[in-house]
Symmetry: C2
Subunit: 357 residues, 2 copies
DNA sequence: GTGAAAGCGCTAACAC
DNA sequence: GTGTTAGCGCTTTCAC
């Protein structure tokens, strides 16, 4: 053994180390590992042996830099704590993983500034694709990067942009049907609770609400409340509404947060539920068929939506020129226990209802 | 204007483009942008102008390769759909973002093979840190990379490893207290439902259960059920238990999944709940104080746990030699409506109880 | 304080 | 098939 300065043992072996050990060119190692080109069996064996002996593990970073692709997709959602988005992310991570992509996850917390900031870093990481439920429809953060964005699919929100693929539920129709159900039950005073009427998806849901009321000649009874993006805000707003002289006989909540806010408000006032007030919620979860009363809700096709999003992204990855598409998936209604006939006869519905039980 | 072949307009400007335009060295651009070194005001201005003019945006990939750090942390959880993990991830993403890190998210779906596979890719991406709630305590996936792992913090599970920092709830004590509550109410037949007794956290919870029963002289009444990792599995197991000749008067569910499974089982059998059977759950969520009966549960300090995890990771990033620490955070009990006195007097508790209502 | 040059680890292009 | 070479875009010595 010579004492001459040999190449020191590198703490983490590189492809070159493997190549030297196997007595082949680095490119050959690369080809063995990636399988991109045929390599003679003998060399391949030597390479594999060298890989095993050195414990070599490829550095994706270097590979990505060279190949100009990262096999990474960014996902931006407003709130991971909301089961709707959690389910979407869960499914997307699944699909992405199957196709060899990893997920860079960002939660915007419904905050535009934060979203813009995080998006910037996401893009600087050279993500191959972007999936986003933007905090605001304008998606100013996106516009700022116009022309420099990777293939992008919007979901749930911001679908007004013609330059992006998008997936949404058929919001208007879902709410229209929900309202019909309530009206059919005899409800004339239905309050509709959204987070923010500034969001297109909420506007669509409001449209469904107004549609249905007008079709029933109840147009002048429409009341839309904006409770904000957190449960407590919605709760406060709804509580106040239920304390009015002529409270609604039913609440229709336009999303998960509003739904929870509504039940909390009803509980806080200790109302007989659904006796004194019915509730139609939005978004279905495990627990809704478990505690009482089981909630009647609009069910968004979450799995199908995630599938559609991923499908659009894959297609966009293959062909950046194809025209953008907006997929709108139908919702279903799960009518359960939280909606029932109002106590007051329809013709007396304008009379004040005593709120306490 | 010369027709000579000038450098073509590069579709995406690089630091070199900016440097040329500003008439400075690439290194200077780098220094302006990173702020790592002082740059004379005049040059700085020229650089900034060139950045604006070209619309240059740094390539983190190249930077990471050179700097040998990615400002990225991998998070592996068994199930994003479980609000406990969703909340953990949510909070961790928050903390990471504040510190300039991004999150590569992986859901293992409680599947070891998948976990190992995804972990491999995660590591090849040169993540700076790893946060993991391993599918199995052995965390074979981790062991396979022994010595080549970035700073790693385990949470909720796998905390038996002396070579990793870890954060868990005080499982044994939490369950012990929960059991005391049930026993105090007069319950002598309490079934304990875990997902899998192979997990250390479940074993700890079981230990708390046995402790409490033995302390009350009820050691021979202990019944531990393993329902598996999905709600339906737990439901089936619990349903069967409730149909025995001598059904338990109370169910103690050892995690979120088991809790939901328990309520489903109770509903499926149409039992008077909590009249005929009490339920003590595990993990607190928004909806538990909203529908009836409000569930009595063990509350894990999720936010504090995430904070602790992040804190440990940051410290480990700073000092890889420091001894590993296992932080164990106390839980609290939320006693609500799902637990009440059993209908049968304690001294008759061994008599069969009629199950139908 | 600034520039020149080397190189992070990998792969694509091109010879042979 | 396999080796050689030249970078991917950035940061970091090291001179000046």
């Amino acid at each position: 053994m010579s004492i001459a300065p040999e190449k020191r043992f590198s703490p983490v072996p590189t492809m070159r180390d493997v190549a030297e050990r196997a007595g082949v060119a680095p490119a050959t190692v690369s080809n063995v590992i990636s399988g991109r080109r045929q390599v003679r069996q003998e060399l391949r064996d030597r390479v594999l042996a060298a890989v095993a002996a050195t414990g070599y593990r490829p550095n994706q970073l270097a590979s990505s830099l060279r190949r100009m692709r990262t096999d990474t997709v960014g996902i931006v959602v407003p709130d991971l704590t909301n089961p709707f988005f959690a389910a979407l992310v869960h499914r997307l991570e699944d699909l992405a993983g199957e196709d060899g992509y990893q997920i860079l996850l960002v939660g915007s917390n419904e905050d535009e500034a934060r979203e813009a900031d995080r998006l910037q870093t996401l893009l600087s990481r050279q993500i191959d694709g972007l999936i986003m439920a933007p905090a605001r429809d304008e998606a100013a953060a996106l516009a700022a990067h116009r022309g420099r964005l990777p293939p992008t699919v919007l979901m749930d929100r911001g679908f007004g942009h013609a330059e992006f693929d998008a997936v949404t539920a058929d919001n208007t129709d879902a709410v229209r049907q929900g309202c019909r159900h309530l009206i059919g039950l005899g409800h004339c005073d239905i309050a509709f609770v959204v987070t923010s009427p500034a969001l297109d998806n909420m506007r669509e849901r409001i449209a469904g609400y107004r549609d249905a009321l007008e079709a029933a000649g109840l147009g002048d009874r429409a009341r839309v409340l904006a409770g904000g993006f957190d449960i407590e805000g919605c709760r406060a707003m709804i509580e106040q509404e239920l304390l009015r002289a002529e409270p609604p006989t039913a609440i229709f909540a336009a999303n998960y947060v509003a739904t929870l806010g509504a039940v909390k408000a009803i509980r806080a006032l200790d109302l007989d539920f659904p006796g004194e007030v019915s509730l139609f919620g939005f978004d279905d979860t495990d627990w809704m068929t478990v505690l009482r009363p089981y909630l009647s809700v609009v069910v968004q096709p979450v799995a199908a939506m995630a599938d559609a999003v991923w499908g659009l992204l894959r297609q966009r990855l293959d062909d950046r020129q194809a025209p953008c598409r907006h997929l709108r998936l139908p919702c279903t209604l799960a009518v359960r226990e939280s909606t029932q006939r109002p106590r007051v006869a329809p013709d007396r519905a304008r009379m004040p209802i005593v709120v306490s039980s």
